[in-house]
Amino acid sequence: MNTVWKENALQVIQDIFRNQFFDDSLAITEHTTPADIEEWDSLAHVNLLASIENAFNIRFTADDMANIDSIAVLLATMVERGAC
């Protein structure tokens, strides 16, 4: 995974998380998981991934939806779906 792309992607993902949860102090890294963000729950998950799809012009599969459970997995899946 290209380092520059990853840094840029993390910035965009962080903005999406901040908007979703109305929290400008949220810091997202590739090590972030739902255990670190209480609001990242099953109800928010679909909206987060839909926003990421729109921002990167990609489409997650239904299986991606179920399997993405950390930022690291999210980034890897985004690469698989052609975001990089």
Binding site: P34, A35, W40, D41, S42, H45, M65, A66, D69
Partner: protein, 304 residues
């Protein structure tokens, strides 16, 4: 309830959240809404499953199966605006004819009935409206995991309890609950595998319950007409269903509350009482606008 009797539920929830922390807020938020007797009922059901040789790991897998599948289907619905299955044959191939999957799915759904606030509220609505002293025949179409059937047997005095389900797995699960003796002694129950639309009943039902059935049928209006012809004129008729709520085996989406109530009317019933539950954390207006899930339960009466 003492601490020991709480352990099975607590241990199972902890295992689920250890595997998928993402569900913590939703699940713990829901569990906080349970009354003491509802906690006791959930505990008893989990202990029953454990006694039937299920392990905690298997039960966690059952629960996670339905939530993970729901994610998949929500994404599909968001992208296409449609449920994945359009016919009964597709749903049967994906779910009903797959015994292992169906068992996991049903047990996962049963756990959600005890744990998810919308499902709990529908069960409360059923408990509140089911006539306790009425006699005659209680008939349930699609008892599925068997929990509504169990609740009816525990809290009403019908002379006979009948359950018909198209799935062999669901029949086995409900029969298991009845025959186990774990929840009490029930000798007036009969559960069999069959298609409600082609069943010929000996006498009209005095109570007809259709929990989470309409969304699984290709022709819901025809189904309601069949239900109408299977009940006494003054029967208690209870149904639950959902709007914009994709699942692996859902076929029919009424799209709107108005659309659903128009269907009920065309099916020959009028609404007496209702319990309308938007997705947790959302308003009904948001759900309608953004096509988010709405759970509904109705008590309806046969129109003359």
């Amino acid at each position: 309830m003492n601490e020991t009797s709480q352990n099975a539920s607590d241990r199972l929830v902890a295992l689920i959240l250890q595997r998928k922390p993402m569900h913590r807020k939703f699940l713990q938020g829901s569990l906080a809404e349970l009354t003491q007797s509802e906690r006791a009922a959930a505990e008893q059901y989990i202990r029953y499953l454990l006694q039937q040789d299920a392990s905690y790991e298997e039960l966690a897998e059952c629960y996670l199966t339905i939530v993970q599948d729901m994610f998949r289907e929500e994404m599909h619905f968001k992208q296409t605006g449609k449920y994945r299955c359009a016919s009964y044959a597709e749903a049967a191939a994906a779910v009903y004819d797959n015994g292992d999957y169906m068992r996991r799915y049903m047990i996962g759904l049963a756990l959600s009935s005890y744990w998810w606030i919308n499902h709990i509220q529908m069960l409360r609505f059923f408990q509140k409206t089911l006539p306790a002293t009425r006699r005659g025949v209680y008939r349930e179409v699609g008892p599925g995991h068997g929990l509504y059937f169990l609740e009816a047997m525990r809290s009403s005095g019908f002379d006979r309890y009948e359950g018909v389900d198209i799935s062999a797995t669901s029949v086995a699960l409900t029969q298991g609950i009845v025959a186990s003796g774990y929840f009490g002694s029930f000798d007036k129950a009969s559960i069999w595998q069959g298609d409600f639309l082609s069943e010929r009943f000996e006498r009209p039902a005095d109570a007809l319950v259709m929990g989470e059935v309409l969304e699984h049928v290709e022709e819901p209006e025809r189904f309601l007409e069949a239900a109408r012809s299977a009940v006494a004129d003054d029967a208690y008729v209870f149904l639950t269903t959902c709007i914009n709520s994709p699942a692996v085996d859902h076929i029919y989406n009424p799209e709107t509350l108005q659309g659903l109530e128009a269907l009920i009317d065309r099916g020959g019933f009028r609404v007496l009482d209702s319990c309308v539950l938007p997705k947790q954390g959302c308003t009904l207006e948001q759900c309608a606008q953004d096509r988010l899930p709405i759970n509904v339960a109705y008590v309806v009466a046969k129109r003359s």
